[in-house]
């Protein structure tokens, strides 16, 4: 498979007929006022792409940036659920691409952050109905209006992934500390190549398992992937609760995980803050007890 190329239309801000050299020149000239189109992807499913998109979008909007989240998972949309906006969705991505609805008709305003908007995926359509060129053009238009266009990619590396990537010019890859997830991210990074400047978020870390040697550590994961690390998010039951309620954890800045998303947002925005790491929780009494008796396993 060939490496994918970043969005030619956002890079040039013009018709794709522009030569690559011109495109580069115009891109650097236009960078100052153009929004950033970032795809969130992972290869493996269920590692937290959608949760990360919702939380990063919320955190960026709280910083005062205007943000639009695009759910590119046509047929299996979920970003509306995680944001609690499922009952407000009237039009979707394919309505806009096929010009049955305007961008403004289709954008759903978030409940909590006034600078955050969602463009939902179509639920009853198929991924191969998305035209790559139209997707690129749409992302370009959104980049004229928003500071950030975050594209939530579907799992896998099929057409849905390619369309999600097609509109972007940067990538954030999400990985969990599991062998299968690391292997899949490695594959996706290979497909993306360096032009998307992929950065890494490690999700679902369980520090107590890392301490007991039962889970890959941050260094283990990034020793293999070797990507700029945006931050590490701990595995918290709280995430399930926030999805149940449709309220991203980033709204709760007083929680450790909420604060971690805000730190990641600051880093995405270019601030020089340290990458958030889950506090290495103290060993529990039971753990100390089992360590004392040399217990290997439960």
């Amino acid at each position: 498979m060939h490496q994918l190329q970043p969005n030619p239309s956002t890079s040039s801000g013009q018709a794709p007929s522009t030569s690559p050299e011109q495109a580069e020149a115009q891109a650097s000239a236009a960078t100052a006022k153009r929004g950033r189109a970032i795809v969130l992807t992972s290869g493996k499913g269920g590692v937290g792409k959608t949760t990360t998109a919702a939380n990063l979008g919320t955190a960026l909007a709280r910083r005062g940036a205007s943000v639009v989240l695009i759910d590119a998972d046509v047929g299996l949309r979920n970003l509306d659920i995680v944001l609690g906006l499922e009952s407000r969705v009237q039009h979707h991505l394919l309505d806009v691409l096929e010009e049955r609805a305007s961008i403004d008709d289709a954008l759903v305003a978030d409940k909590h952050s006034e600078k955050l908007f969602l463009l939902a995926a179509a639920q009853s359509r198929e991924k191969d109905e998305v035209e790559t060129a139209k997707m690129q053009a749409l992302v370009s238009r959104l980049c004229e209006r928003f500071d950030y266009v975050l594209i939530d990619s579907p799992a896998g590396i099929e057409l849905g992934f390619k369309n999600a990537v097609a509109g972007a010019d940067e990538a954030i890859v999400i990985c969990t500390p599991e062998v299968a997830a690391v292997r899949d991210v490695d594959r996706v990074v290979g497909l993306l190549g360096n032009r998307f400047k992929p950065q890494l978020i490690i999700n679902r870390l369980r520090p107590h398992l890392v301490r007991r040697g039962k889970m890959l550590s941050v260094d283990d994961v990034n020793g293999i992937l070797r990507l700029p690390l945006l931050g590490v998010i701990a595995d918290e039951p709280e995430i399930i609760v926030t999805t149940n309620r449709g309220e991203p954890l980033a709204l709760q800045t007083h929680t450790a995980t909420g604060a971690a998303y805000h730190a990641i947002a600051a880093r995405v925005a270019g601030e020089d803050v340290p990458a958030p790491m889950p506090a290495a929780a103290k060993p529990s009494f039971a753990e100390r007890l089992s360590a004392f008796f040399g217990g290997k396993r439960r």
């Binding site: 499922e86 009952s87 009237q90 639920q123 149940n244 309620r245």
Partner: protein, 143 residues
């Protein structure tokens, strides 16, 4: 500590919210209709039924279920009075089932059957699944 007490005494959690949200979202997924359109359909449906009987608009419960390959709309519409205000009530003795308002919904592509259940004073019963037996239109109690 408050969190601890909440856990100990089992404060209502988020799963109830989750279930309600799922119910709505799957309903709209199956119908391929926006929630607003479903509300409009409910209103129109009740308007039609109201031409024949007086219904309790506040306690109407309309749900959609998938049964095998088809989708069914289940409407629980409490009837306040079978006698219409302008007197078109031709209801029969209690032994014989009264003809029930049978609203056939053509909602979505596959909405198949609909059943309107009449009850007199009881609030709408919200039994969701395993209701196949009771789906036959229940006899309307005489008022």
């Amino acid at each position: 500590m408050i969190e601890f007490l909440k856990r100990l005494f089992g404060q209502p959690g988020s799963s109830a919210t989750a279930k309600e949200r799922l119910r709505l979202v799957l309903m709209t997924d199956h119908l391929e209709l926006a929630p607003e359109m479903i509300e409009k359909m409910k209103r129109d449906l009740v308007d039609v039924i109201s031409r024949f009987v007086e219904v309790d608009r506040d306690r109407i419960d309309v749900t959609f279920e998938r049964q095998d390959a088809t989708l069914a709309m289940l409407a629980n519409i409490p009837i306040l009075s079978v006698n219409r205000p302008n007197g078109n009530g031709t209801h029969k003795p209690a032994e014989q089932p009264a003809p029930l308002p049978e609203a056939s919904a053509a909602a979505g592509a596959s909405a198949a059957s609909s059943s309107a259940k009449a009850s007199n004073t009881k609030p709408p019963v919200r039994k969701r699944r395993r209701r196949k037996k009771s789906q036959r239109a229940a006899p309307a109690p005489a008022t």
